[in-house]
């Protein structure tokens, strides 16, 4: 057996893929020959090194997307504290003239928003609801699909007050609120849905949250979210990339 073949056998042995008969032969060799025993140890170390390397490579990538250092996480923790709330009010009062200026929407951003804002439609199951409630929701969804958001919002709101964990309708409500220019309420819903663990609507919510910031002329925030969508969001990655190009 040459050294290449021995190497292969040791590798298969360490991966537990060596046939029984071959394994016994190799174990005899290991017991009789200290050099071969040392070779086995060396390859065991190499296996460990490779595993450590690969995990470290991925760890470095994940550390770039630190949650605890993310602006949204730090922002959420910051505003919870009493002192920061007082500071926010003080700064807001001083900044009122500037806020007024920034609240004037630029024409370009409004055009972009109108181009990209499209109410998503997902099949909604109304089985299990009382018939009149099911019909109400279907009718509200028809209004929503026809961009009659003002008609859809009250029905969705009433429904959500009774069924707060119906995330599909909640998402529709968020979009309808945004379409109806009730931006703050829409933002709250998208922010909530985006942060839920195991909520697959988080990707939709993240997209609409970006559009909400675009609608508010908060371009920096919109871009930040869009860059995350571009990198991580399966459904809206392409749209986010397009919109970012137009914003830049």
């Amino acid at each position: 057996m040459n050294e290449f073949e021995l190497n292969e056998k040791i590798e298969l042995y360490l991966k537990d893929k060596l046939p029984e008969e071959e394994k016994e032969k190799l174990l005899r060799l290991i017991n009789e020959n200290p050099d071969i025993k040392s070779d086995v140890e060396d390859i065991r170390v190499i296996k460990k090194l490779i595993e450590t390397y690969k995990l470290e490579e991925l760890r470095e990538e994940l550390q770039k997307k630190s949650v605890i250092n993310s602006i949204s996480y730090r922002y959420n923790n910051f505003v919870k504290s009493t002192y920061s709330k007082a500071a926010i009010i003080f700064i807001a009062v001083l900044s009122l003239p500037l806020i007024y200026l920034f609240l004037i929407k630029s024409d370009a951003n409004e055009t972009l928003f109108n181009e990209y804002f499209q109410p998503v439609t997902i099949e909604v199951k109304t089985r299990g609801l009382p018939p009149e409630r099911g019909e109400e929701i279907q009718s509200a969804i028809e209004n929503y699909k026809n961009n009659l958001f003002g008609n859809a919002v009250p029905v969705f709101k009433e429904y959500i007050s009774e069924y707060p964990e119906d995330y599909e309708i909640k998402l529709y409500l968020g979009i309808a609120l945004l379409g109806n220019n009730e931006v703050e309420e829409a933002k709250q819903i998208f922010t909530e849905l985006k942060e839920f663990d195991d909520n697959y609507y988080s990707e939709y919510s993240e997209w609409y949250l970006a559009l909400t910031y675009l609608d508010e002329d908060n371009i920096d925030k919109a871009k930040e979210i869009l860059m995350n969508i571009q990198d991580n969001n399966e459904y809206f990655g392409g749209s986010a990339a397009k919109l970012l190009k137009e914003l830049n």
Binding site: K15, R44, L49, L55, L62, S66, E234
Partner: protein, 198 residues
């Protein structure tokens, strides 16, 4: 209706793809999706939020490793599997904290550095990473396909069109192993630290 199970299976497919960009895409998606689980677990066990990133990342990497090694059989949802791993990591962390508080400082100084200390382990990982970045990219690829993804020689040939046949691969693999052995054995202390961490 969008199917949650399909989503999990696409993620698993990406994690097993042996393609770093797909792995990173799937893991960062899960990082966003599962941070709430770790947040809730930290609250449940009254552990400081400063552990969130570390526990989240280490749990994700544990899930990833088990998926690559076929230890995750898919008989539960990924979120459930992640929850169990993350909770175990948090319980481990609680045990370490409690041990740290009970250890006599003088005894710690007498015993010297301990490779099972989290700080030392992280430092060792970084040194391994830095060392392996010095080997040829061809060797890194061959060794990762072979020893991390456990691919057979035929599977590796399929991913490395620059290598013409199985004999060339075996020869190249042997040379890469010898090259790496020389590098790590040139620093005896480092080599011993690795052996102890096995």
């Amino acid at each position: 209706m969008r199917n949650i199970d399909y989503h999990d299976s696409k993620i698993i497919e990406d994690l097993k793809s042996c393609d770093k960009s797909r792995e990173v895409k799937a893991l960062t998606y899960l990082q966003k999706r599962f941070y709430g689980i770790v947040n809730d677990l930290l609250n449940k066990h009254s552990l400081n939020k400063s552990y969130l990133d570390d526990i989240l990342i280490e749990s994700l990497l544990a899930v990833y490793k088990n998926i690559v090694n076929d230890k995750f059989r898919g008989d539960s949802k990924l979120s459930t599997y992640f929850y169990r791993i993350a909770e175990n990591k948090i319980i481990d962390q609680l045990r370490k904290e409690s041990k740290k508080n009970n250890i006599d400082v003088e005894e710690q100084e007498k015993n010297g550095p301990n490779v099972f200390n989290i700080y030392e382990k992280k430092e060792l990982s970084k040194r391994v990473y830095s060392l392996l970045n010095k080997i040829r990219p061809l060797c890194k690829d061959i060794l990762i396909f072979s020893f991390f993804y456990n691919l057979s020689n035929n599977e590796i040939l399929g991913k490395m069109p620059g290598i013409s046949n199985a004999d060339s691969l075996k020869t190249q693999k042997y040379k890469c192993i010898q090259e790496l052995k020389r590098m790590i054995k040139s620093n005896e202390t480092f080599y011993q630290e690795i052996l102890e961490s096995l």
